[in-house]
């Protein structure tokens, strides 16, 4: 096990009706006016907006609104949010939505207190170290952004989809996870969320760290739980208990618990996927189910023991180590197929012509990865493996 420092100060309010408790929590942090940040129209349809406004009003918290956050949230919207916060003198940011909205809120919260353009913190030119207090109401379980300190934003004019953190202040103070508001999600979004959660575990689980029994046990438990309950939800989207299992599993997948004691993850597949979704209008989860089997095929020989363990404990495979390792990759691809998430670039109409552009983009910060350090040639080969 690696030495580690672990802290996660986010308070979670989980369950039916918990949005009503948020206003009091915001007030207890001495916040009196928030930027209410959201995406498109879904929060007006599923009753979440009304519940949020009600708890704000009940606690005399003022707000100013900024909607329109897109999946793969963009820097221009972040800049707009920062502008509004400064002008309107808000002292907190309330994200109501999925990971995209929360990530956008994190960048805004840090940007308000940042000297210069907040993109400099993504670009590693200057560290962001503080931010306005952040609160969230989660409407799509996937990224775990509701309980971690990271945000991924796309700089549209340069097709860069990069991550940043302002440290401790980037953890939401309080996040509400009410699984019942996810019952009306389009099936595709539920699936994307499940793939995203599993992918976070993969990045951590397959990072090559040795002596990680307890971490691996928890990782495998999350994978099995997500796989089981996303399948139930395909046939029974109103199943509250499965929504709850999927939601809490997705949060635990990337709240730091699974990283503690590891080398903090491989993350090269996320880099490759970010290049995909920086160029194409493709959901993050869909990009991950395309890229992970390809990455696995390319790197599994660097840790046959772990891929064998994966095959045995997730798919109950039996046989010789390398056979089980290879078969486990086929099995996870089959699972993605089964839940309707794409597993090849061609399925999303991206063909060979795109590979040089994608390779170029994903190589901007190469070498990437921990289990195998990937250079430009490796990255190109993995995109080729992902074609079919």
């Amino acid at each position: 096990m690696q030495n580690f420092e672990f802290v996660n100060p986010t308070k979670i309010l989980f369950g039916k009706g918990m949005i009503s408790k948020l206003g009091k929590e915001i007030k207890s942090h001495s916040v009196s006016k928030v930027l209410l940040h959201y995406g498109k129209t879904s929060i007006f349809k599923n009753g979440v907006y009304e519940q949020v406004v009600e708890t704000l009003k009940a606690n005399q918290i003022k707000w100013v609104e900024l909607g329109g956050v897109k999946p793969n949230p963009v820097l221009s919207k972040v800049e707009e949010g920062i502008e509004i916060c400064k002008k309107e003198k808000v002292d907190g940011v309330l994200a109501v939505g999925g990971g995209s909205v929360i990530d956008s809120a994190k960048a805004i919260a840090a940007g308000v207190l940042f000297e210069g353009n907040i993109w400099d913190a993504f670009d590693d030119k200057k560290r962001a170290t503080k931010g306005l207090p952040i609160f969230t109401v989660l409407t799509l379980s996937a990224t775990a952004s509701e309980m971690n300190a990271f945000a991924v934003i796309t700089k549209e004019d340069e097709n860069k989809k990069w991550a940043f953190s302002a440290g401790y202040d980037s953890y939401p103070k309080v996040s509400v996870i009410d699984p019942s508001v996810q019952m009306t999600l389009p099936q595709e979004q539920t699936v994307n969320g499940a793939v995203d959660a599993i992918s976070h575990i993969f990045e951590l689980y397959f990072d090559g760290t040795k002596h990680t029994d307890i971490q691996d046990e928890i990782a495998e438990g999350i994978i099995r739980t997500v796989m089981k309950h996303v399948k139930i939800l395909l046939n029974d989207p109103l199943n509250y208990e499965s929504r709850a299992q999927l939601a809490w599993s997705a949060t635990l997948a990337l709240n730091g618990l699974n990283a503690a004691g590891r080398t903090w993850g491989d993350w090269s597949t996320h880099t490759l996927e970010h290049s995909l979704s920086a160029y194409y209008d493709i959901a993050h989860g869909a990009g991950l189910s395309i890229m992970f089997p390809a990455w696995m095929k390319y790197v599994y020989k660097n840790d046959i023991q772990k891929f064998t363990r994966f095959g045995r404990n997730i798919f109950h495979l039996e046989g010789k180590d390398e056979v089980v390792a290879v078969e486990s990759i086929n099995k996870i691809k089959e699972f993605f197929d089964e839940i309707g998430s794409p597993t090849s670039l061609k399925q999303v109409d991206i063909n060979e012509d795109a590979i040089e552009k994608l390779t170029e983009n994903a190589s901007l910060r190469a070498p990437v990865g921990v289990l195998m350090k990937l250079g430009r040639d490796d990255i190109r080969k993995i995109f080729y493996l992902a074609l079919n």
Copy 2:
């Protein structure tokens, strides 16, 4: 899954050499003088005291010492600590030891700011809601007190061994877990710690809550990891990786993670054990390995499904549900026997004569328990089941 609120603000510094980072952390909390609280002589033998003093000095933190905390820590020592803190104007408490020392430190930290005697907070007469900042250096993994907000103290003159919490302030601000300092522990203490950790999982796992897949996966992962690594340590006590696995598993067993989404646990077996160790000089872990199989035999019919799952996922048992459920109880008793933890009252020289006294003590707050509400008669029967 039950609705829940979850927050755990404790920062963990885990691994070899991490004690050296503690002084800076204490300083960052604006603490300038601590009560350095410890047990007997072990921290002077294993080098922990020196490491602690060094990091305090390096960060200009003053201290005053109070040693002599016993296993099953007592109120009189807590009162002594409170007195010293007030007289010496300390602004933080640093516990260096196992769960007993940390629990004693928590009661002291709250007691300094409590009007009246701190036992009133154990007795439910008055709530404790604040305390001095607490820091810990863990030397024996068992109770998870290093990452939760609870403390158990014994009021000697009344043989009451009860728990309390001052809420958020009872979470240690920072806890150091360096598994290497546990390499020199007597085997018995390693075993007691493992049993304690497993028992915490049992209290949560067997509380009858339904729809707890992800919680159960994590619980079973912790049980398997503790069982595996405590056995390795019996033969190879200097195995750092197994010390690390046991240490982090014990912390995760009772840091709130396993309680979230459940009914917060059954805890009747702990009540029964507390009566045992309030009267007899018996380690908490030893008392738990005696009481748990007895409690399980008495209550398993209230949740055959969970006991069956336990048997299948922990001991790979096959067959009909009730057969597996019953056999799982025999198996856990066998495991306790195997690692040398007692499984009957007679093994620790407690016989039938003691049962009325123990029943009386454990019934003070009856009914206890969640899976089955236990009254005085139930408690007596369970003590009888524990005799042999």
